[in-house]
Amino acid sequence: MSYKVPKILPTTVVGSYPKFPIAKEALKKYYKGEISKEEFERMIKEAIRLAVEDQINAGVDIISDGEQRREDMEVYFAERMEGFVVGNNPEDWVRIFDNVHYRKPVVVDKIRWKEPMTLIDWKYATEFSQGRPVKAIITGPYTMADWAFNEYYKDRNELIIDLAKELHKELKALYDAGARYLQVDEPALSTHPYKEDIDIAREALKIVFQGMEDAKKIVHICHGRVDKLFPDILDYPVDQFDLEFVNNNFELLKVIKEYDYASSGKELGYGVIDIHSKKVESKDFVKNAIYKVLEFMPPEKVYVKPDCGLKILGDRDIAFKKLKVMVEATKEVRKELGYEG
């Protein structure tokens, strides 16, 4: 089955979707040893089917597997690569706010990719996608390094480059399987918007995406001071920057204008849905947001999407409603622009 992605303003997602109860149950029971590997896979596959179904029902053009298997975007990869230790005991955890702690991985040896970590879920999603393209999404080397302690490497840059080489293998496995929308998540980059950080992230992305010229290469950056990364990131070896706009009250549009983003030739993943608020946006809000960006960008270069992953909403109904509004509003804009009857 094939699916025709609209030529202008295609809709997409950043990646994660609220976890379905079956995914939560599968993760809990599997780690307690209460279910077999086969049963675990069956339950995760079902959760992915549900996540895909929601995206299709909402009308999203380019979808994801909903990251139903991933505990979080850092630990998931760290636990599956050699060189990391992720403590399971309470004394190994690190405070993130108040009395909430998280498992911060420690790099204790040379980083090595062992086997595909995300391929099976991408395949499950593709099986259910009714021809819609499924984004392949991994956490980027800069963020993996920034969100871990480093006990082994001489310096951080050495760690980032090694991570890039190993994560390249992950992306290559997805690319070889047919994934052509390849997204690398680098949220940590916006917290260190300095030249040396921007430079090392560029070098790392070159390595990660090497040899995948015919794929859509996307980097997702959110939270923090994304504006400060411009214009230095405009020469990154990617086809699309996937950015948040609602969370900064569309202030980032000033940067898009100031640095003439459109002339870079790159596409823009344009966040129009707030992932921190459970209030569902109105169609008018989304339409206005789209028209705002069209003042600076051609519609064929704009991908309409939520600011970030929807997992944080924690509520599948709200996530679905938000996606539905996003798609309906986008369709109306396409029609008003005369591209869709």
Binding site: G87, N89, P90, E91, D92, W93, V94, R95, I96, F97, D98, N99, H101, K104, V106, D146, W147, F149, N150, E151, T191, H192, H223, G224
Partner: protein, 331 residues
């Protein structure tokens, strides 16, 4: 002879038993008296751990502080804590503080941190340091719905902090003020000047040594401004400041204080610093300046490390300090 002390900025990872107790208290499963008993025992434990690993200047660990601003929300009139949300990243850390709202004039009703220092002062086997946020850093991390004027806001914050210090000074050996905002390049210079002015008002009558600790950025651009501080010592983050450049600044501008706090070890990573190399670098610094005391410290608070690593990190800091003492004695 220079006195060289192993110190740390403050903060400490919450040991698991305290974390569990806090969760239980928040869930209504235990009463405050039980939480208090566990907290007290845990504080005794972390004081003992600091001492056992060889630190000379100890802190209470600030174990019940949710962030550096929140021991004060319950005891200062005029500020409110939002029930939900309002979490913001603290500088570039993967740690979030809750931004308090200023709704009326800030007036302290009672001291916030005296109780923990009273207990600690009775058991601490070495020197005890109290640590507070500075008025500039504090003012830049609140949501001000009342003053709408940085000068007035900082003035009242510094008065409230001075009140706190007046209770702490009899109990401790040092007062340390955390002022990362002074070296933040994004903070307006006029705010930094104001910050120094209010720090000086806060610290002028303090009868014990005071240290103003900076971190996360080198202080090279504001070093001359920092020299206007009427403190007994300044603290610098040497994990982000090239040591040769740091020395050059000290030589060029002088260092007119009795105490220097060198944030030499990295509290943001579990990796252990090489003893000889680090001691040698530190020796080259103190060899250039005529201070009475050098506090060898971590660059930042210890509360963003895992509890399982904290003893190793403190031991390494003490080993570096010990080696440095040897180098100084050898001349």
């Amino acid at each position: 002879m220079i006195r060289i002390l192993a110190s740390h900025p403050g903060g400490y990872p919450r040991p698991p038993e305290l974390r569990k107790a806090i969760d239980s208290y928040n869930a209504g499963k235990i009463i405050f008296v039980s939480l208090h008993r566990i907290w007290r025992n845990t504080m005794m434990k972390v004081i003992r751990e600091q001492s056992e690993e060889g630190l000379d200047v100890l802190t209470t660990g600030h174990l019940l502080w949710d962030d550096i601003f929140r021991p004060f929300n319950k005891v200062w009139e005029g500020i409110e804590i939002p029930e939900v949300g309002n979490y913001y990243r603290f500088y570039e850390l993967n740690f979030y503080y809750k931004r308090v709202k200023v709704k009326a004039p800030i007036v302290p009703k009672r001291p916030a941190t005296v109780h923990e220092h009273e207990i600690a002062s009775k058991v601490v086997p070495r020197l005890l340091k109290a640590d507070l946020p500075g008025p500039l850093t504090f003012a830049l991390h609140v949501e001000d719905d009342y003053y709408n004027d940085m000068d007035a806001l900082m003035s009242d914050i510094s008065k409230a902090l001075a009140y706190e210090i007046s209770y702490l000074a009899p109990l401790v050996d040092y007062i340390q003020i955390e002022e990362p905002a002074l070296v933040d390049p994004e903070v307006k210079p006029e705010f930094k000047e104001m910050g120094i002015e209010y720090l000086n008002l806060m610290l002028r009558d303090v009868p014990i040594p005071t240290i103003v600790k900076t971190y996360f950025k080198p202080a090279e651009d504001v070093y001359e401004l920092l020299l206007d501080l009427d403190a007994d010592g300044l603290g610098f983050d040497l994990t982000v400041w090239n040591i040769d450049e740091f020395k050059a600044i000290l030589i060029e501008n002088g260092y007119p204080y009795d105490i220097i706090d060198l944030g030499a070890t990295d509290a943001l990573n579990v990796k252990l610093e090489p003893i000889e190399e680090m001691a040698s670098k530190l020796y080259s610094i103190i060899d250039e300046i005529g201070v009475a005391e050098a506090h060898i410290s971590a660059n930042y608070r210890y509360d963003v490390l895992p509890y399982s690593y904290i003893r190793k990190k403190m031991r390494r800091l003490a080993e570096i300090t010990f080696k440095l003492r040897e180098l100084v004695e050898e001349g």
